[in-house]
Assembly symmetry: D2
């Protein structure tokens, strides 16, 4: 069973936490702990065995920790997610496959596309696909339409699997640190649109992909993971896009795994990742 | 023997080049060729055996190629370089070691520092060290002092091995595409000063180093090679700097090898690298 | 249009080849050439534009090259493949997805499994699935059954996507250098069965995957590509297997791309790969 | 201050350890903990601040831990090492440079070579070099000569920086898990002599280097770290050796850093590495 803790740092935190667990005869199988000394923040992820009373342990941990502590014992063992897409298939296909074979660590409740292109592949996996066009609509109306569709699913996370619309701060704040995006560049290089074109023109020798939480500050949210691939002069722009796809798929898959296994903590627009 | 060619593209270039070589009974051991179709540029690097008349071949190749062709048969087999440094030892030590064991592919004529810190290590390898302080001097005077020291050595390349002064366009133009710099970030992310601090604050998961030719446009010159290393939340700023050093050393070493072996072609602020 | 050539080395080969192309007014867009000097072998892959008479060019190239030359102008632009599987889904799903979106560079004619587990996913993509059990059968009968199913499809390549049966030399010789396998280790480390278990026990810090052509010498065929991922003490055997899956999928995908784009030449139990 | 602990696993270990530290008002800055459940072993590395009584803490920790516990509070902050070499300079030069600039995390007491080739570079750094030829000598005599030279330096570790002699079990047992070797292959592939030749003949696409502790079982000791570099058909054997050197240097440097910072635990012919 997983236990995650995030609070102000202080002397004796590990002792207090581990004493609670020892009193319950829980065995600590693995423990990752991090203190950000500049920010005076404490983070821990514990895998414990023999946890018979998770609710009780959560209460007892909360009592021995600083007032602001966030404690979760056995946070949702399987998350529900809604996936937003536009036209590119690679990230979505990977998600659908993992979902189908139950290796995603989450359950895809539905896929929403602002184009119909990916309806076919989604339906092949018996997952509902909703088409919500953004055309001839204000952003507000578009996002209201999205929200109405999403809400009944009560998703734990939204995954933007190459969803090419910019979301408003209002929409984002409704899913604070619950929206995972894959950006097709090695952020903070090449923010904004057309990163592959920019990379191509700049003549870089490595291109990247960045999975991050979405905040109202475009492309500036906390980074979960980054991956890279080498490129060279023989790559046309189209080759870069193609090579980048593999990289995007892998980076998003990795980020989802980390988040769904409760390995990622957010603070100060950064992440602590116990991988 | 190495032959490098750069010219406007056209039908029959490879035939024309290889016919010249075949007529001389030269054997082509390896040939790398690239055409940038957007720019209509042709690049080739040929390793040939049995080249008895390099000067004659260069003439005959020039005759069969477009007027603007740059042709070099057996370009300087060993380059002379001058290394500029400030205080950090890691890149310089690596250069001095390779120079000492004759695996650098170039000969270090001297090291120039704007601080005395690296005089000791340089002298241990019997290489001249010149101290040229930038203090209490205009940039013009500083660069004149540098130039006076450098000129007699007639270097083929200047290597900025963590040289922390910005050079003026005038100085740079005197060594057009002959100055190799190592920038301690994954350009174009984190241009300018303190890239590690910026990377630390941004919470990136990978940091990079970029070896590039210096142009008057700061940190915007043609990229020769880039290397990366993963980092995580446990890295303090100081840890990032430390880890980055290994990366910088490796990237600069790789770039020097590529340049000194005549594997790098520059055009359009990009490079073609036949690695 | 792609042109591939493999023959004994000699002076003037590139000249002879490029002259043929120049005479036809073909433009060489890119050319990769390699000579194995120990073995006296010549390999070239040319991408040419403006090829109006491929059959004629193949004839003219054959005439100017040594007697043993293998020349292919525009080798099958799209290959047909048959995929053999057992129970693990990850490589097959990736192949089916790429096939579905026409980014595989080949067409999957059918999938053959010795277990029924992957019938469902295959059918979701409207690809025929044939179950050929190996149980209660001699290897000869099993392979005859396979062969009868495969033959009508006339595949250019067989892809073993985690097919866990050993094939006999007889079967393999019927598809000489036409069977691509993914081995779940960094060959030649951990040949044979259970490589992850062996890697786990040995305490390695990196695990690999190797895509190779199958020869009668088990796990000893020519290597097409290898990929690795870091592991550490926290990985259980099961974690290694799971992490390895991503690696296997990526390595096999890369190998297929290289082979299907005619970038791979085999000789002497090695490959030349113009990637 | 670093605290390392290795013992049989049990319920309440982390609680017991952290209570001791909390009682002393020590703050736990970072804690890495691992349990091998199959082997029932517990490992921890703690960085604590405000440790005023290390000897007392070591005693108190020992009291609350299982009988077989190995506990070290502030293990030698700077290790002493003796470096053994043969002829290749790359690893030694790197060690000497880091030692000179005090970034090795250890102090090089002397270098011993069985050939004189590296005497010059060693002396440039003012480090004693001892020549101990193995010629015209039994292995026993050779190792006695080595031992007599090494003993007075009381080294914490011996580093074999491309030392090309096989050491006897007797010699090795005198430095149990204290000898760090760099093997120029991706173990367990290509054990024994001439790994690059074997890799070249096999046509691998990646070559590796393995830093490991030396045991009497040649090339079979616990692996500390492994690194790899891609190679391809264009690499001659000599190119592989040259490329491999960079890799060996980097892998050995990394392994030394990990060991000297007390991040490596050995058990069961494997390592736990808290990197």
């Amino acid at each position: 069973m997983v236990i995650v803790i995030q609070c102000t740092d202080g002397v004796g935190l590990v002792a207090a936490i581990s004493k609670v667990l020892a009193n319950e005869e829980c065995n600590i199988v693995s423990m990752r702990e991090h203190v950000d000394q500049e920010e005076n923040k404490f983070f821990a992820r514990i895998v414990a065995e023999n946890v018979t009373d998770p609710v009780g342990i959560e209460e007892r941990l909360t009592k021995v920790l600083p007032a602001n502590a966030i404690v979760k014992v056995n946070p949702l063992p399987e998350k529900n997610i809604v996936v937003l897409v536009t036209r590119e298939y690679h990230c979505l296909s990977d998600i659908l496959t993992r979902n189908h074979f139950k290796t995603l660590g989450a359950k895809v409740k539905c896929v929403i596309g602002n184009h119909p292109d990916l309806m076919n592949i989604t339906k092949r996996f018996d997952i509902p696909f909703h088409l919500v066009s953004h055309e001839n609509k204000s952003r507000e109306t578009f996002e209201n339409d999205l929200m109405q569709l999403i809400s009944p699913y009560k998703p734990d996370y939204l995954v933007l699997a190459k969803f090419m619309r910019i979301l408003s701060p209002g929409f984002i704040s409704a899913f604070n640190m619950k929206i995972i995006n894959i950006h097709h560049s090695f952020l903070p290089a090449f923010t904004g649109a057309n990163p592959y074109r920019k990379a191509y023109i700049r003549g870089v020798k490595i291109i990247g992909a960045t999975a991050h939480f979405v905040t109202s500050d475009l492309d500036e949210g906390p980074i979960i993971t980054q991956q890279i691939i080498p490129v060279n002069h023989s790559f046309t722009l189209q080759d870069m896009v193609k090579a980048g796809r593999e990289n995007e798929t892998a980076a998003l898959a990795k980020a989802m795994q980390l988040v769904f296994e409760d390995r990622v903590f957010v603070y100060n627009n950064k992440t602590v990742v116990f991988d």
